[in-house]
Structure formats: C-alpha cells, structure tokens
Amino acid sequence: MKKIKIIYIVSILFISFNLIKCNLNQNKKNIREGKSNKNEYPKRIISLTTAATEIIFELGAGDRIVGVSSNSNYPPEVSKIKKIGSSYGSVNIEMVLSLKPDLIICSKSQTEIFKEYGIKTYGTTTCTLNDVYKLILEIGEIIGKSSEAEKIVTLMKKRINEIVEKQKRFDKKPLVYFESGKTFGKTRGKGSLTNDLIELAGGKNIGSELVGAFPILSNEFIIEKNPDIIIVEEYGASIDEIKKREAWHKIKAVQKNKILKVPIYYTNYTPRCVEAIEAFYKFFYEEK
Amino acid sequence: MIIKVNDVSFKYDSDVILENISFEIQDKEIISIIGPNGAGKTTLLKCLYKSLKPKTGSIYLFNKNLNLYKQKEIAKKIGLVPQNSEHNYFFTVEEAVIMGRYPHHKKFSKETKEDFEIAKRNMELTDIYKLKDKYITELSGGEFQRLIIARALTQTPTILLFDEPTLHLDLKHQFELLELLKRLVDENNITILMVLHDINLAVRFSDKILILSNKKIIAYGEPEKILNVEIIRNVFGVEVEINKSKTGILNIFPIKAV
C-alpha cells in the first residue's frame, strides 16, 4: 500500500508539474495555420445562430460560411454546410478548430470560450427590432459588406414605414395575443422583437402589459383581455385545439375565426421579419 | 479507587432519572448493577463514560474529574459493550475489532503491527479469530456479541462497562461469557461494571452488587451482605426464597409476584 501510494503521488506530481508548464506556453498561442492579415475580412466563418447565417447569405457572403448551427435550415444552401452545435448549449470544439475559422458568431457567453483559442468572435445579443438592424449592420461591417448591409436595412425600414403609414389611419388597434411554441400562455412582451412587429403592424400586444420579454399569461388574463387576434407559431397548438380550449369560445378572435398560424422565421432576427409585419397588417386590417 | 461517583443526579428536561447517586469502585472488581426497568441503569452507565453529563455532583476517574477528560482519553481507559449494536455494515470482523485501537491514534498515524497483534489476541480470547475475514453481516448473535467484547478489549481499557450483555445469549453462552469476564479480571487486571437483569447471574459472578431503583441506590455491597427477601420484595415486587446451594453459591428463587 505504501509503495503504491508513493508511486501514485510521485507520478501525479511529475505529470502535473509538466502539464502546468506546458499550459503556461499555450496561453496566447495562435492556433490558425497561417495567420490572417488584420486588414483582410474573415473568409472562414462559423455561424452558430440561424439569424446570422441567414444575414450573411443575404449579404452575398454565404460561400464564406464553413460551419453552421445544427438547426439551420435557411437558405437551402446550408444543407451542404457542416453542422457544429448551437449558440446555446454546447459546441464541438474539435470540429470548430478543424474548420480553421477566422470568425465565430455565437452567443455572448460562448465568446469567452472561443477567445481562449485566439479566434475572433462576435457575440449576439439581439432582442428588439433595433437590435436586428444593429446585427445586420455589425455583421456587414465585420465581413466587409457594409454597403450591402446598409441597403438591406434601408429596404427593411422602407417596407416597414409603408405599413406604419397604412395602419396609422386606423384609430382602433386590434388586441393581439401571440402564443410562442407549445407552451400555453407563453407570449412575447415589451423588449422583444415580436412585440415590435405586432405594434408596428398596428396591433396592441396584450403581452406588453407584463414585465419581461418572455412572460407567461394566465388563462383568466387572456380571456379577460378578449383579444381580437390570436397569432400562434407553426409548431404550437393547432387552430382547432385553440378553439376547443375551455371558455375560449368567449374570445372575439375565436368567434370571428381570426387565428393566424405563422412560421418560426417570422420572429427570427433576420431581414425576413419584415414579412411578418406585412402579414400581420394584412391579417389585422384587410382580411375578413 | 478507580471510579468515584459523588452525589450525582441527572435530569432529562424535567424528568428526574437519577438522584443522589454515590458509590465507589475499586480495581479488579466485578460489579453488577441490578434493578427494575426504568430505574436509570443505562443512564448511570452513560454518565460514567461521559456520554451524558450529570446535572449535579461529579464523577472521578482515577482521581481526576471526568469533566476534565477528553472523550478520547476516556476511551483509552473505559470500554463499552452496549446493549444494541448496528451490524448492517460491510466490515470484516478484523476491521470491526481494530476500531478499538482508534482512541490510541492521532490524526496522521496508521494502525501498527502491535495494534493488529492486540486485536488478534482479543479475538482469540473471545474465540472469533477464525472468523476474522468474515463480514459482520454473516455473524450469529452470539458471535457478534463476542466481537463487540473483543473490540472493547482492544481499547486496552482498565474498565469495561457492559449493558445487559446476556440479553441475547443462550444459557451456555451466558455462562461462557461471564466466566470469560471473571478470567479477564483475574488475569488482565480489568475492572468490570455490568448491568444485568438476571439476579442469580449477578450474584454468582460479582464481587459487589449495586441495586438501583426509583432513581436511587437502594443498596451496594457484597451479595450475601445486602440481599434479603425484603429488599427484593420492595424493589422487584417479587416474593423469593434465598438459599445456598451445595457449592456455597447464593441462589434466589422467585415464588410469586406481589
């Protein structure tokens, strides 16, 4: 027992000493084979958020993307790109390093990890519509497509303004209840992109009365508010299920069959969110 | 004089368990504590190895106040064989017995060859050495009892305390145990204090008897001198006959309850 203990302790000390020694040399090492010029724009981009992926393609730089998040599906070209992980949860670091990226777009908290490997990172913190503009412009700047980015943002603002002008004419704004995902009562509140979309399209989001961007509403609250419009995401409850909910037959939206199912990308932080505003406006005011 | 108990009383919250307990124990004696249930016998034992602190009075161990002793020091001098012991653990007999050496070790010392020798001797004494690698879960009641005794002996104490050691043993093992105890006192200079429920065994194997009843000491002394029919009637509520056998041993024969 004593002999084994001594060997054990000595070998641990030996190994730890050497490993700590080699760590001291690794700290600031540049892992890329062939360093990139600071003046060049990133050529090998890994994007872990579907929004950034879409934006980069929109900016015409889609061919520079070498890795995307596992749930990427737009544009169709992403199916050919390697799937790496996601912006929440974990990423396979070895896969990342094997792609030799010079830019990683990920969540704010993930940037710490990648910085350790000397890779340039951009952490996303998008919440509102203004954040979406910011995201497009900042990504554009980083990859050297600033003018294209500005064009996109300008076009977005133009389309949105058209809708805003149209809906201004109406005094009475419909009350809107937006249900996200599969959870009953989970909605978007002030400070969320969805809220901006609804309000710009001329609706009044009942979720905006509560605290936080992702509040959960109670059944009584929704029924009491009696929304004129219900918007539900494509992976959420079906329209029939909603109509059958207890006491919901009292709600105006159910009575008038004003329930809209929307695709997920409507509320993602991409230029396509403008489609949401246009579709919402149409559903609020033009469709019967 | 090994132990001196001086006017000790013990209360548990407001329940008085012991009152004005005073007695002395000399070395190389076997003393039995007898009395009806609930008289406070186990409580008294617990006070002797500082598991409980008396509310009034003091106990002296080797002329030093028990309060001044650390638990470890007491453990080097007093060994306990309790009434019940957990044996649902995967200890081998040897591992369980060697625990008796714990009070003799400081933080960073290991069990030595001598420790294992002491354990071995005591296991042989209690006839369990052949079981030394068996797990204690596989032992019979009697074997387990002997293990606890071996462990207590391995503390190399000067005093052994027993709480109802004969409770779970059959007649043969009861006698074997008590004869072993007598041998220990004679050969190993040990003093034994035991709580017994069987008066006859107490009489047969003790030098002195302490009768504890209703929180107080009723009598304390050599069996022949202190035992008589009245005392037993008052304390135990039983009418008895006291005879002497052919071999000169005192025998208490219960006749009827009163």
């Binding site: 084994i4 094997s98 969540s107 913190t125 | 598991s51 200890f91 797990y135």
Partner: protein, 339 residues
C-alpha cells in the same frame, strides 16, 4: 483480505490510467495514436524531435486534456463527498447534494447568468451561493446547539425547494438565450473546460480529499451507534460538523465548475461498498477512483457518440450507473439499508 482490498485499489488505478488514454485518443479530429504519444512524451521532457503539426498540440493540450483532468477531479470529488455524507447520515439515499448545495449553486449561476456576467463570475457566483446555502441549512438544522441528522436532511430539502423555485422565477424573467444558458448550466457538462478551471479546482479538491481520508477512523466509528462512537473517543458533534464542512466545500467546488451532475455521488460509493466493504480506509479512495473512472467514461462518451451533438453528462451517468448498481445489488443478496 487486506491484500485483496489493496489489489482492488491498484486495479482501479490502472483502469483509470487506461480510460485516461482511451479518452485522450478519442475525439473528432484525426489524430493518430502515435502523434498523441509523441506529444505527451515531448511535454514530459523526452522526444524532442517531435515535429508535430500545431493543431495536434492545441487539440490535445488545450481542448482534450483539461476536460479529462476536470472530469477525473470532479468525479472523485462527488464520489468522496457522497461517500462521507452517506456515512455521517447513516442514510443510503444521502449524497453530495443532500444539504441543498445543488439548488443554491443553480440559483447563484442563474442569477449571474441573467445579469450577463462572464463565465468566471458565474462560477464564482455558483460557489458563493453553494456555501451560503449550506450555511443556511446548518443554521436551520441546529437546535439547542445540537445538530440533528434528521433536521439537517429536512432543512436541506426545504432550502432546496426554496432555491429551486427562485431559479424557476429567474428563468421566467430571463430572455430566451439566457434561459437556455441557465438550463444548460444546470444540466452539467464539461464542454467549457479549460486550464483556468483546472488550476483553481485541482488544489482544492485534492487537498480536501486527502483531508477527508485522514478522518477514516471517525467516519467508521460514526457508522456505529452514537454511544459506541462516543465510547471509542469520537467527539460526534465536532467531527460531524468538520466533515460536513469539508464535504460541502468539495461539492461546491465541483458544482460551480461543472454544473449539477447527478448519480456519481450517490452510486459510486454504493458500488464500491459492495466490492471493497464499508471500511473508509479503503472505501474513500476506492470511491474517488470509481467516481473519476465513471465520470471520465461518460464524459468521453458524451462528446464522441454523435457529432456534433453533446449528450448531457448527467443523462449518461444515470444510464450507465444505475443498471450496473442493480446488477451488483442482485448479486449480493443480503442487502437492506446497508452502509
């Protein structure tokens, strides 16, 4: 018999080394065994003509090695902590999280994540709140300056529930990205392992495990009844308190770095008890080694079964650990409430 136990421990040690090497060879990048060996020998001081591409060094030394070392350390920490908790409480179901540390750590992490702090602060926050929770639980459990076991378990449960609901509340208020981050933190995992964490956690865990090992006598005696422990010279109150403090520190260190990994602390001591017995002289080390081996295997599996997905470690630990434990239990027929 004693020799057998020592052989078992030596065997565990050898298994650990084998698993270490398997793990270090395992990974997405195409690195051959030869390259790995060359690199390791180079790092220890031999074989200076290595000539290896840079990425090999990066992958092995920066990506895989800290993760492996962390898994070993944390597996050992959780197993030892669980072992001593089971001993002090004389309860089969006790484990490293019995005193509510898990929920306290979750709360600390959730709070700091929600405020947007960096990883280092989240770790510190988790640690801080673990200790605070443990302290709070002790306070609740002390009555008449006497720490009762049953009260401790109860107050641990109560405080756990309290902090869990606080965590739910924070989750409710968080943005979606933060929410996912919190959930992922709580599930536990090593994908963020780096040398920084290793440097912080290594000395703490090693020292605490060594310290707890010196208490093997007290731990053994505490398994007996209170009276027997006292008669063997153990100051039960003091010893329990010390061991609780060490165990809490151990758990807190582990949890603040890797999140809440379940089952290791509960299962490994039980498994080793059935193999090596209850004597803490051997059991503590054996549990530590078993914990390291189990966690290392599951972490390596979690990052190499499916690419690029990483299966949360906690799921794998229960998948592996529970059936094995059932198997052992069935073999050992006399087993009810055994410690």
């Amino acid at each position: 018999m004693k020799k057998n136990k020592i052989i078992i421990i030596e065997l565990l040690f050898i298994i650990l080394i084998i698993v270490f090497f398997i793990s270090i060879f395992q990974g997405y990048s195409n690195i051959t065994y030869k390259e790995v060996i060359k690199l390791l020998l180079n790092k220890i001081g031999f074989y200076n003509n290595a000539n290896l591409p840079e990425y090999v060094e990066t992958i092995i030394i920066i990506v895989r090695l800290p993760r492996i070392i962390l898994a070993i350390l944390i597996g050992a920490a959780l197993a030892v902590s669980g072992c001593v908790m089971q001993g002090i409480f004389r309860n089969v179901m006790a484990g490293p999280y019995t005193t509510g540390i898990a929920s306290g750590a979750s709360f600390g992490a959730a709070l700091f994540i929600n405020f947007g702090f960096s990883l280092k602060f989240v770790t510190a926050g988790a640690f801080l709140f673990s200790i605070f929770t443990a302290f709070f639980v002790y306070l609740l459990a002390v009555k008449n300056s006497y720490l009762q076991k049953e009260r401790l378990i109860l107050s641990g449960m109560v405080i756990s529930l309290f902090f869990s609901s606080l965590v739910s509340f924070i989750q409710y208020l968080s943005s979606d990205p933060n929410l996912r981050e919190i959930i992922f933190w709580i599930m536990g995992g090593f994908w963020k392992a780096n040398w920084h964490s290793v440097k912080i956690v290594l000395p703490i865990i090693l020292i605490l495990i060594i310290l707890l090992n010196t208490y093997y006598r007290e731990l053994n005696a505490l398994l007996l009844s209170e009276e027997e422990a006292k008669s063997l010279g153990i100051n039960c109150k003091k010893v329990r308190m010390i061991i609780l403090i060490f165990s809490s520190l151990l758990t807190a260190s582990a949890v603040s770095v890797s999140g809440i990994i379940a089952f290791i602390g509960l299962i490994c001591p039980h498994i080793m008890r059935l193999i090596i017995g209850s004597d803490n002289k051997y059991l503590l080390i054996a549990s530590a080694l078993a914990g390291s081996i189990l966690l290392l295997i599951t972490d390596t599996l979690s990052r190499s079964i499916v690419y690029p997905v990483e299966i949360p470690v906690g799921i794998l630990t229960s998948l592996l650990g529970v059936p094995f434990f059932i198997f052992l239990l069935k073999r050992h027929k006399k087993s009810n409430q055994i410690l």
